[in-house]
């Protein structure tokens, strides 16, 4: 079954590209103040969604209102995938993930982030949610998101539009293509995407965790170097902790020579799948991802039918 999930990693990149094409079509018909139907926009425009929902309720038209159903979907995603969505579901993430896998060894050895930089997506989430509400514009989509690089949607005024295109283009080239390619790190997911920060918060309702066994760990730091999203810091590793922004991609599990890292439920082994037991190999993100895909497919399908 492993080949299926390796294929998934690449497939996500392809789905990301085709999704971008579709999104581009969708964005052409949107006005700049509308929030695109996109999960990344959901976290950073949450207050706008809530405000629009409030207006929709007031107009007694709430059942026709898209954000409500999106909101439902968006509750389903953290519940089913938790933070693993960023590694196993997100098609945008598939793009920088794909670029980070092209070279086998990194050209730039970058394992440590300066100061509090790992909290940048969470800070962006806070500021974007507030400034989006103040301006009633999806600020992230208009000023940061490299996936909204399109000939529609952006500000119609010449210079502002040119500036937006320049910023979006720079983020695309630097954070989605160049640095992932050279450093083998998922820069956009790890240091920019506010939805990743949102998942770090809401994904806590999902029981799946990546846990280090202190009795086995020899502090070799291979996991830290392999983590594509800088989710393990030196300080955290010393305390055998995984950071809160872990995307549950499983890279650290694959590289650990002591088999000290494993998937757990809230830090405890799954009772029906103890390590070494007959069912142990099913305590695997790939198996859970498969279930999550099926359930998400069912949820989306029933939503479409409705």
């Amino acid at each position: 079954m492993a080949w299926l999930f390796v294929a998934n990693k690449w497939l996500r990149g392809l789905v990301g590209l085709s999704w971008l094409n579709g999104l581009n079509e969708n964005l052409r018909n949107l006005q700049a103040q509308e929030v695109p139907n996109c999960h990344i926009a959901m976290g950073s425009s949450i207050l706008n969604y809530l405000y629009q929902q409030y207006l929709a309720f007031q107009s007694e038209n709430w059942y026709q209102w898209g954000p409500l159903s999106l909101g439902f979907l968006w509750l389903v995603i953290p519940f089913l995938f938790g933070q693993a969505w960023c590694s196993w579901g997100c098609f945008y993430g598939g793009l920088d993930d794909g670029f980070s896998r092209i070279f086998v060894k990194p050209w730039i050895r970058w394992f440590r982030l300066p100061g509090p930089l790992r909290d940048l997506p969470a800070a962006l989430l806070v500021v974007l949610a507030l400034t989006s509400l103040t301006t009633l514009l999806p600020v992230f989509c208009l000023w940061v998101c490299p996936f909204k690089l399109t000939d529609g949607f952006l500000d119609p005024v010449g210079n502002t539009r040119r500036l937006q295109l320049a910023i979006l283009g720079t983020v695309l080239v630097v954070a989605v293509i160049l640095l992932p390619l050279l450093a083998r790190k998922r820069l956009f997911c790890g240091l920019i995407c506010p939805f990743g920060a949102w998942q770090a918060l809401t994904g806590k309702i999902h029981p799946f965790r990546v846990t280090i066994d202190p009795d086995r760990c020899t502090q070799c730091q291979r996991c830290l170097r392999a983590c594509p999203t800088f989710a393990i810091s030196h300080e955290e590793l010393r305390q055998h902790q995984i950071g809160p922004y872990c995307n549950q991609c499983g890279e650290c599990i694959d590289v650990c020579p002591e088999v000290a890292i494993r998937y757990t439920a809230f830090g405890r082994d799954f009772p029906w799948m103890p390590p070494g037991g007959a069912l142990a190999e099913f305590a695997d993100h790939r198996v859970f991802a498969l279930f999550a895909y099926l359930l998400l497919g069912g949820a989306v399908g029933s939503l479409c039918l409705y």
Binding site: G115, T131, P244
Partner: protein, 204 residues
């Protein structure tokens, strides 16, 4: 009395917009400065609100004088200049030495103690003109009476403050170290955003 009810009513009905204007400044600041005890957070928010109140009173007096001079126009540079000043202050505040990124600019910041003052931030938020604020100002220009205008703005301030006060609910989670570093980064981003908006407003 009618003036008080009217001002309070306007503040109460439009306070959510005020919160929209205040929050990008207030929330990152509270995230960094809050302590895990209610009293100090109340004091912090109180200073911020006092700064806002002073700005409102000055505005009320100014607007009323404008009304008495039969001129109801605010200088167009005022709002972007306020944004720019708020942005600069937030960046200076973020650069002050603290746990998140210690010693970034100790030399500059020792000479700039105001950078840590919530009162000043509150004042600058107060002069960031938002739509409800403009509505209140238009009304006091019509009042043609300085005392009544100040009363109107005081009531407006009380009405809008009810929306701002919930920020002290951050208290129970204030001990989380990560909150400070997120707040610090949020100060830098919001400061840059305000500076850019201010410069863009001044240029246009």
């Amino acid at each position: 009395m009618l003036v008080l009810i009217e001002g309070f009513g306007l503040g109460l009905s439009t306070g959510i917009y005020c919160l929209g204007a205040c929050a990008p400044i207030l929330i990152p600041f509270v995230m960094v400065e809050s302590r895990p005890n209610w009293r100090s957070n109340l004091w912090l928010t109180g200073q911020f609100l006092l700064g806002r109140l002073i700005a409102y009173v000055l505005f009320a007096a100014g607007a009323s004088l404008l009304g008495q001079l039969a001129s109801s126009r605010l200088p167009t540079w005022l709002v972007p200049a306020g944004l720019l000043l708020s942005g600069i202050l937030m960046l200076a505040y973020a650069a002050a030495p603290r746990e998140a990124w210690p010693g970034l600019c100790p030399a500059v910041c020792r000479r700039f103690p105001a950078a840590r003052m919530p009162l000043l931030l509150g004042f600058l938020v107060g002069i960031n003109v938002c739509p409800p604020f403009l509505a209140a100002m238009t009304r006091v220009i019509d009042l043609h009476h300085t005392g009544l205008s100040i009363l109107y703005f005081l009531a407006f301030f009380v009405g809008t403050t009810l929306y701002v006060l919930p920020v002290i609910l951050v208290t129970p989670i204030a001990r989380i170290a990560r909150l400070k570093s997120i707040g610090w980064l949020a100060c830098v981003i919001a400061g840059t955003w305000f500076c850019a908006s201010g410069i863009s407003g001044l240029v246009h």
